[in-house]
C-alpha cells in the first residue's frame, strides 16, 4: 500500500465487479479509503463514479467482491444493519436531494429527530451549529425551492453532518457550480475534514478543485482503476490515462470518437447494402 500501512482503511473495496444489464461498470476495482484523509475518485463521465459511492453505502450490491466498512464486510448486512451503519456516514448527493416538503431547518433536524430523543431545544441548538458551519444560519426558514444551487448543496452538507458521521461522501460536489460556490465548497470540505477529523471521499471530474484538496486520487476508466497516487504523483505520472485526464487532453486512451466504422467507408456508404 502506498499510504501509511499501519492504519487500517476505513472503507476497503476488494475486487468489485458490477454490471448493469449487459454493460460492465466495474471489472475488478480495488479502492481503499484511509481515515482522516480526503480521497478523490476521478474519471471521465460515465465511468460509474457515483455507482462506486452507492456500493460503499450499500444502496447497491456488487455482483461480486467484498466491501469492508470499519473492517466489517457489509455483503450480508440486512437493511436494518445497513441503516445502522449509514448513520455513521454522510452523503452529499449531486442534486442535494433535500426533502422538498420541509424547511431548511427541518431538513437538517431530520436525522436528529429520527434517531435521537433529544429535546427540541437541544435539536434547535445543534441544527443552528450545523447551519452556521455552512454559513446558512440565516436561511433556516426557507424552503428548498427558494434556495440557489450552491445554497442547496450547502444545506445538504449541513444535513449530512447532522449526526456527526465519521465518513462523508461527496457526489460531484462541484458540478455546475459558479466559481464562488466552488471555492466555498472546497474550503468547506477541507475545513470539515480537518476540524471534525472526518474521512472524506470526493467523486468528481473537476481536476483543479479536486486535486487542490485531495490527499489521494484514484483514476477510474473502463471499469478499472487505471492510475492512483497523490495529486503531485498523478500530475507527474507517465501513465497515458493519468496524463490525458489530468491535463485535459481531448484524445488519448479515452478516445474522442465513440466507436464507429471507418470514416471513409461510412461516408462512402460502402458497408451499406
Amino acid at each position: 500500500m502506498p499510504q501509511n500501512s499501519i492504519t487500517e482503511p476505513k472503507v476497503s473495496m476488494r475486487d468489485i465487479h458490477f454490471s448493469r444489464g449487459n454493460r460492465v461498470i466495474f471489472d475488478g476495482v480495488n479502492v481503499d479509503i484511509y481515515p482522516g484523509k480526503i480521497t478523490a475518485i476521478m474519471g471521465p463521465s460515465g465511468t460509474g463514479k457515483t455507482t462506486l459511492l452507492r456500493l460503499m453505502t450499500g444502496l447497491l450490491k456488487p455482483d461480486s467482491g467484498d466491501i469492508f466498512v470499519n473492517g466489517e464486510n457489509i455483503k450480508d448486512y440486512s437493511e436494518a444493519q445497513l441503516n445502522h451503519m449509514r448513520r455513521g456516514m454522510g452523503m452529499l448527493f449531486q442534486s442535494g436531494a433535500l426533502f422538498t416538503d420541509m424547511s431548511v431547518f427541518d431538513n437538517v433536524a431530520f436525522a436528529l429527530r429520527e434517531h435521537t430523543d433529544l429535546p427540541e431545544s437541544m435539536i434547535h441548538d445543534v441544527v443552528l451549529m450545523k447551519l452556521e458551519a455552512v454559513g446558512l444560519r440565516g436561511a433556516r426558514d426557507l424552503m428548498p425551492r427558494e434556495l440557489s444551487g450552491g445554497m442547496n448543496r450547502r444545506v445538504a452538507l449541513a444535513r449530512s453532518i447532522a449526526l456527526d458521521p465519521d465518513i462523508i461522501l461527496y457526489d460531484e460536489p462541484f458540478a455546475g457550480q459558479d466559481p464562488i460556490t466552488m471555492g466555498m465548497l472546497v474550503k468547506l470540505i477541507r475545513l470539515l475534514n480537518d476540524t471534525l477529523g472526518l474521512t472524506s471521499v470526493i467523486v468528481s471530474h473537476d481536476i483543479s478543485e479536486t486535486s487542490e484538496i485531495a490527499d489521494y486520487i484514484y483514476l477510474l476508466s473502463d471499469g478499472k482503476v487505471v492510475a492512483q497516487g497523490t495529486s503531485e504523483e498523478m500530475r507527474a505520472s507517465t501513465s497515458a490515462h493519468a496524463d490525458q485526464f489530468m491535463h485535459g487532453k481531448a484524445d488519448g486512451p479515452v478516445p474522442f470518437h465513440y466507436a464507429a466504422p471507418d470514416y471513409y467507408q461510412d461516408l462512402m456508404r460502402i458497408n451499406e447494402e
Binding site: 452507492r54 453505502t57 444502496l59 437493511e79 436494518a80 445497513l82 441503516n83 445502522h84 449509514r86 448513520r87 456516514m89 454522510g90 452523503m91 448527493f93 449531486q94 442534486s95 436531494a97 433535500l98 426533502f99 422538498t100 431530520f110 436525522a111 429527530r113 429520527e114 434517531h115 444535513r159 449530512s160 449526526l163
Partner: protein
Amino acid sequence: MGFLGSLGRHILKFIQALGFSSVFLFQALLTKPRLKSFHLLLKQFYVVGVLSLPIIIFAGFFVGMVLGLQGYTVLVKYGAESALGQMIALTLVRELGPVLGGLLFAGRACSALTAEIALLKTTEQLDSLRLLGVDPLHRVIAPRLWAGFFCLPMLVLIFNAVAIYGGYWISVDWLGIDGGSFWSSMQSSVDFRQDIINGVIKSIVFAIAVTWIAVYQGYVASPTSEGIGYATTRTVVYSSLVILALDFILTAVMFTGLK
C-alpha cells in the same frame, strides 16, 4: 416459438413483479407504528382523502341526479316510479359507488401518489433517506398505503350519501315523486348487511388494490422525467382495470342469488 417465447417471458415477468410487490407490501406494512409517525399519516389523510373530497362530492351529486332522471324515464313506463328510490340506492351502494369512487380515486389520488413517490426517487430523496438511516418503506410508503386503505372506503360512503341525496332532489323536487315513497321503497329493499356492508367491503378491497398499485409503481419507476410519466399512466390504467375485474368477481360472490 417467438410468440410463445415472448408470452412466456411476459408471464414470468408478471409473476416476478407480483412476488416482488408482495414482499414490498408486507415490508412496508409490517412495521411497529410509532407515535412520531402519526403526523405523517395525518398528512397523507389530508393529501389522499381531503383533497379528493371535492371531486367525489361533485361527481356523486351529478351521478345521483342522472340516475334519478334516467331511472324515472324507464320506471314511469311501467307506472313503477315509486321504486325510483330503491333503484337509485341499490345501484349506488352495490355497484356505482365503489366502482366510480374507485375510478375517480385512481385518477385523482393514485396518480398523484405514483408521481410523488417517483419524483422523490428521481430527486434522490429516497436514497437520501436511506443514507440518513431511515427506511423509505416505513417513512414514505407505509403512511401512504394506510391512508389509501382508509380514505377510499370513506370517500365511497360520502359519494353514496351525496349521490342518493342528489337523486332525491331530482326525483322529489323536480320530477314530483312523493318523498315518503322515495325513502320507504328504498328502506324496504336496501338491506344494511347485505347491501351497505358489502358495498363497504368492496370499496376496502378496491382501496387495497389501487393504493398498492400506485405506491409500487411509483417506487419502481425509472428515475427520469419520462419514467414518472410512464409510471403515472400505468397506475391509472392498471388500477382502473383491476377495479373493474375485481368488481365482477366480488359482485358474483356477493350479490348473485339475491333479489
